[in-house]
Symmetry: C2
DNA sequence: CTGTTAGCGCATTCAT
DNA sequence: ATGAATGCGCTAACAG
């Protein structure tokens, strides 16, 4: 179905010139008389010539492939990062060689060898978003290395992270903007850096407004629905008045909402709720019910990928943490969206 | 940080033999005396030799890279398929060049040229799961082409799809096994082939048990929450008795559950509900609330990828639709899971 | 301006 | 059993 591929030599033969001339002209390099240039272009066109990338790569010592080292590729939040990066690389005609380290150090070592053998032009390390730092592997490579959805423990490495602080701040400002003044925060333990960032952001917004956090500090547990339920009850039992809750993730938010309604509070009339992660949006089926913060993970992956692609082409390559802005998605849980057909109480 | 790469020639020099001998020995081909073999292996070891893949590829005319053509890469359901495929290829040391066609025909044409120039060893086309067939691009290639999450309109092509029929059947059998006998079905229009497959599967399970579908046929609309709400009301107003509802997706299931509870029905006591997609699981946070069917999309992508990888190595390569089994995830909405801490009504 | 000559690193006949 | 020679397809440095 596909005849023998046509090579530079074929084009040269037809155009009646040398191979190297064809190479130059086809790449717009050096000078060539208009006459021969036209002949060459015509010949290339007629033969439907396409340079064999393998030949180019060998000659140029590059591979046009990027190594990707994922700590946990099939992870829910890793997937969008990976997808974003992968397609962004594709747009630059860069292929990717993906290895899943399963968080295993020995696997990483073996993988690094393979990546070098493949002469990857760059490396993208994708973390699992947990606040803990990632072990830098950059010094093992002579090509640019970029970290995404995790922060390298070597400050010389460029790392890309979603902006948890901004998330907390956006949540806070949104609630304050709606006139809420007694805001509580239910989230995971602050030892989890991403929980801490969100809490700090919220606190910043409250400080600016001169308001305290209800209970003085976040209700800290873990990321589960179970914790969300327990924490919501604890909040109710505390007797403190509150008119809003910012939850560390959407799972907790859903749990809190269930408990509050069960207890007779109306959402959003009595209590407004903001979540984080936009998982229903991630599921492609945002239903407009829950106000939440989207960390824009696909974008995160894409931005990191483009940065790496640029670095490979000689662009700037600075260490430090680059932060990707997140977005507030309005929903009915803060009354930010008009009651729609999506609401059961029509 | 990384000295000049060591080549076959370097090893040959150290071992005091010719390049071609080293090449053979290192790849276990042909015969060589034990003496020289040892010397060569020792030299390679000492120099930490790793063959430059680019050289191998050029010489062998292969690229160890797979082209991936996605109709809609960032799509919710495409992501797991892509991730599964990508990491499966990685396990075989195959890199992937991903292009997102955005469902645009002209983009596809341009892309095909690029893929050929890169001398891809195979092509994986990823659809968007909508029942409609995908336009085959296989005849443009001389390498194996496999279709995933979509079915090629050319029966000679191998396509991999989740098993919607099985999904409906599993849902039906699960409900029947729980003693439910009056089962309704709320889903999208049957013109959507994936909606039809699920409906057919459910019908098969009911037929086997000699039971009719409540209302005689599915309540058919679309995949949205709004439709779920309307359909649930319609079901209630019909006056028909029912003790279970199989919903075409989880969004509809959530909507139906809300409406039923609003109307005073208890879930699962009065009505059991089964969804489809396992989106909360996809979100990494399955909360055990909703019984649903997981289409195993990551696995789908991985299986298709391995099939393609095998085909490239000369394995069998048959056309036709290969089906990936789905899995029922028990939850509280059918009482299949003991009431846990996840339940609000503790 | 254009052609010649060398590689890039490896695999693969074909001699020896 | 081993080595010399050739080619994969392209780029690049140097001549003419």
């Amino acid at each position: 179905m596909e005849r023998k591929a046509v090579s530079l030599r074929d084009v040269a033969a037809v155009a009646g010139v040398s191979v190297s001339t064809v190479s130059k002209v086809l790449r717009g390099q050096g000078k060539a008389s208009d006459a021969t240039r036209k002949r060459i272009l015509a010949a290339a066109e007629r033969l439907d010539f396409q340079p064999n990338a393998l030949g180019q790569f060998l000659a140029q010592g590059r591979s046009a492939t990027i190594g990707i080292l994922a700590e946990n590729a099939p992870g829910t939040f890793t997937m969008p990062v990976l997808t974003g990066a992968t397609t962004a690389f594709g747009e630059r005609d860069l292929s990717v060689l993906v290895y899943d380290s399963h968080l295993d150090r020995t696997v990483v070592a073996a993988t690094v060898r393979k990546l070098k053998a493949r002469k990857v032009d760059g490396l993208l390390v994708i973390g699992d978003g947990s606040g803990s730092d990632m072990h830098s592997v950059s010094e093992g490579f002579s090509v640019p290395v970029v970290y995404a959805y995790g922060i390298s423990d070597d400050a010389h490495d460029p790392s890309f992270m979603h902006d948890g602080f901004l998330a907390g701040r956006l949540a806070g400002e949104h609630l304050l903007g709606l006139g809420r003044t007694r805001i509580a925060h239910i989230t995971a333990a602050p030892s989890d850096l991403s929980a801490k960032a969100r809490a700090d952001g919220l606190r910043a917004a409250l400080d600016e407004a001169g308001l305290p956090l209800v209970l003085g500090q976040p209700l800290s547990g873990d990321w589960t629905r179970e914790w969300g339920i327990r924490a919501a009850r604890r909040l109710l039992e505390s007797g403190e008045r509150f008119d809003a809750v910012f939850c560390g993730n959407d799972t907790i938010a859903a749990a809190v909402q269930d408990v509050l309604r069960e207890s007779g509070r109306r959402v959003p009339e009595d209590v407004a709720i903001v979540g984080m992660d936009n998982i229903t949006g991630l599921s492609g089926q945002h239903d407009g019910l829950l106000t939440t913060i989207d960390p824009n993970l696909t974008e995160l992956g894409a931005v990191a990928a483009r940065y790496l692609a640029d670095a490979i082409e000689g662009g700037e390559y600075e260490g430090g943490v680059h932060t990707i802005p997140c977005t507030l998605i309005p929903g009915e849980s803060t009354g930010a969206l008009p009651r729609s057909a999506g609401s059961v109480a029509a």
